[in-house]
Structure formats: structure tokens, C-alpha cells
């Protein structure tokens, strides 16, 4: 009886562990799954509005001079300003970021994700919980950039071919 009981407990633990792992894989991992955070990060919340956030995601790092100082905790759409509103959680020991600092969305490497880069301003007052970063720069959308480049290139080529015809004759 005793051996049977420990066998059942062992099996039960194994099955529960397995089911927990399955649940984690199917709910936490996929993008459309239900999420909960494991530990609550500490810090103070700052908001910033962007015209276009590109493919910025919750959990993306916030960096200042390349050093990680916090992370994106929430992304929403502000219906009043028609812009994207991003909540940044800054670690508590980075508490001397000037009020007029600007935020921009940059890309890490060629295939990397996007992150928010903060360039410090010069004001003697500092960002605190609830304050907003006014100066922002949208994400560079690579497709738009390429489109612009090609449009530019085509127009340059067009103007060149009229005058460049003579050049080729030489």
C-alpha cells in the first residue's frame, strides 16, 4: 500500500509537470497566446507618442547611449492625437533623465528587433513617474525608405538621361 501511494504521487507529479510544460508551450510562447508576466519589474512609468512605431513590441528594451535602462510595457493607440502611445518602464536608478530628452525608435542590426533610444536633453528637471517625452522620432520603415530611395533615383536618372545622352556620345 505504501509503495503504491508513492508510485501514485510520483506519477501525479510527473503528469502535472508535463501538463504545466505543455501549457507553457501552447499559451506563453505563441504570439496569440495568453500571457502573464513572471516577475513584476520595478521602476517608473514614462509615456511617449509616436507617429509610427513600426514593429516595436512589448518587452522591447529602452536604451540610452546603448545602455539598457528599461523596457516597453504597453503599446496603445491614442484616439485623441491619432498617434501610437507607448509606456516605458524605466529602472529606478536611472532617475536623472532630463525632461526635454527625445525618444526615437531604432533597429538592432539588420534582422534584429526594434528598441527605443533616448537621447538626453539639457534641462535641469528630470523625468518622473507619469511624465511624457514630447520630442519623438518615428520608426524608420525600411520599405518606405527604399521606396523613397528608388523614387529619388528614378527622378535623378530621368533628368540625367536627357543631359547625359551627350556624355555617352563622347
Amino acid at each position: 500500500m505504501r509503495a503504491n501511494r508513492s508510485l501514485e504521487i510520483g506519477t501525479g507529479l510527473f503528469v502535472l509537470l508535463g501538463l504545466a510544460a505543455l501549457l507553457f508551450l501552447s499559451m506563453q510562447l505563441p504570439a496569440n497566446g495568453l500571457k502573464f508576466s513572471f516577475s513584476k519589474p520595478v521602476g517608473y512609468d514614462v509615456t511617449a507618442q509616436f507617429d509610427n512605431i513600426g514593429s516595436l513590441k512589448v518587452g522591447a528594451p529602452v536604451r540610452m547611449a546603448g545602455v539598457r535602462i528599461g523596457q516597453v510595457t504597453r503599446i496603445d493607440f491614442d484616439t485623441n492625437t491619432e498617434r501610437a502611445k507607448v509606456w516605458l518602464l524605466i529602472s529606478p536608478h536611472f532617475n536623472q533623465i532630463p525632461m526635454d530628452s527625445s525618444a526615437s525608435i531604432d533597429t538592432e542590426g539588420l534582422l534584429g528587433g526594434q528598441y527605443i533610444s533616448i537621447s538626453p536633453g539639457g534641462m535641469p528637471t528630470y523625468l518622473k513617474a507619469g511624465s511624457e517625452i514630447i520630442q519623438t522620432q518615428s520608426a524608420l520603415v525600411l520599405e518606405n525608405l527604399i521606396n523613397k530611395f528608388f523614387a529619388n533615383f528614378a527622378s535623378k536618372k530621368g533628368s540625367k538621361s536627357s543631359s547625359g545622352g551627350a556624355k555617352e556620345q563622347k
Binding site: T11, F14, G18, A21, F24, S26, P30, G33
Partner: protein, 253 residues
Amino acid sequence: MSAASKAGVIEAVRKTGEAGLFFVRLLGACIPALARPKLIIAQIYNAGARSLIIIMLSGLFTGMVLGLQGYELLNRFGATEALGTAAALALLKELGPVLTALLFAGRAGTALTSEIGLMRATDQLTAMEVMAVDPLRYVAAPRFLGGLIAMPLLTAIFNVIGLFGAQLIGVQMLGVDHGTFWSQTQSAVALKDVTEGIVKSVVFGAVVSLIAVNEGYHADPTAEGVGLATTRTVVASSVMTLLLDYVLTAAFM
């Protein structure tokens, strides 16, 4: 063709047919076997809970190697942020199910074969038949079902531990950003990838358990026969796992 090789071919065909017929009879015995969950629980314990340590250790080191190798490779393209994605997809779709099946064949499959083979060698199975107790229902079916249930659970544990192993190396040791690691992983992994791995592990569980039980059941009732049957279990289930892995991957494309 010489007579010996001809006999060999016929023997191989006969073995395949024997395994096929055994599988059908085993499936028939599975439903009445469900009426005795205690027997199945004991087998889940034997095949699953007792394989837990080897699965967790292997998962951890597989994940850590993925972290190192993935970082090394992605660093060449300046895309180390994709480390989580690479590790998660590799684990979920391939390494998790396949490595777990191979370890399962070595750890639990051999135990099943030698156990049933010894029962055959010591005439326990014959004694059951004499007492009008169906050994398929009381010996083979619970072991088959136990393996079938244990495999997907072991694979899931392997995957989770592996993922944390990759995270341990990638984030804690090599300095990939923690938030980026998980957010990139979450945005790249679809539920379909998770399902693919689970379907694979269920199929592998069924195949490995079937081979193990079949080899034990039809082992020569001698010490040598049981040993040979155990070897055949490992060889056949490893080859079948890798072969079916290709077929399933192609089917999921």
C-alpha cells in the same frame, strides 16, 4: 539469389506482418485495458516519471548548446536578437520530439522489451494464457498506453527546460537582451509550431512503445533472445523515429 538470403527476406516480411498484426490486436486490447487505470498509472511512472532526470538533463544541455551555437552563428550576421526564435523553433519542431524519442527508446523502450521478454522466457505470459487472462490486455496494452501518454509530456518538459537552457546561455552569459529574447521568440512562434512538435511526439511515443512491446512479446524465450530483442528495440525505434520525423516534417510543410 541464394536460399539463405531468400529465407532472410521472407523472415523480414514475416516479422513486419507479425508486428502489424500485433499492433491491431494491441489496439483492440487497449480499450478494455482502460478499465484498469492502476496498471496504466504504474507504467506511466515506469516510462515517464523515471525518465524525468535524463530528459531534464539532456534538455538543459541541448538548450545550452543551442544557445552557444546559435549565438556564434547569428553573431556573424549581427542578428543575435533572433537567438530565442532560433532556439525555440529548433527545440519545438525537431530537437525536442526527436531527442526525447531517442532517449525514451534507450531508457524506457529497452526496459519494456527486456521485462516482457523475460516474462516470455520464464513462461509467465503462457501461464496467464492458461489461466484465461489475456496477456495483451494486462501486460502489453498498459505499457503501450503508458508510453503513449508519457512521451508528449516528456517532450514538453524537454522543450521548456531546453528553452530556459538557451536563455541561460544567451541572456545571462552572452548578454542578449532579456526582453528582446522573449518578445522576439513569442512573436515568431505560432501555435502551429507547438502543435507540430506535440503531434510528432505522440507518433514517436506510439511507434517506440509499439516496437518495444512487440520485440519483447515476440522475443526468443532465452537469455540471448531477450538480449537480441532489446538491441533490436533500440535500433528499430531510433531508425523509425528519424524516418518518421522526415515524413511528418514534410507533411507539416
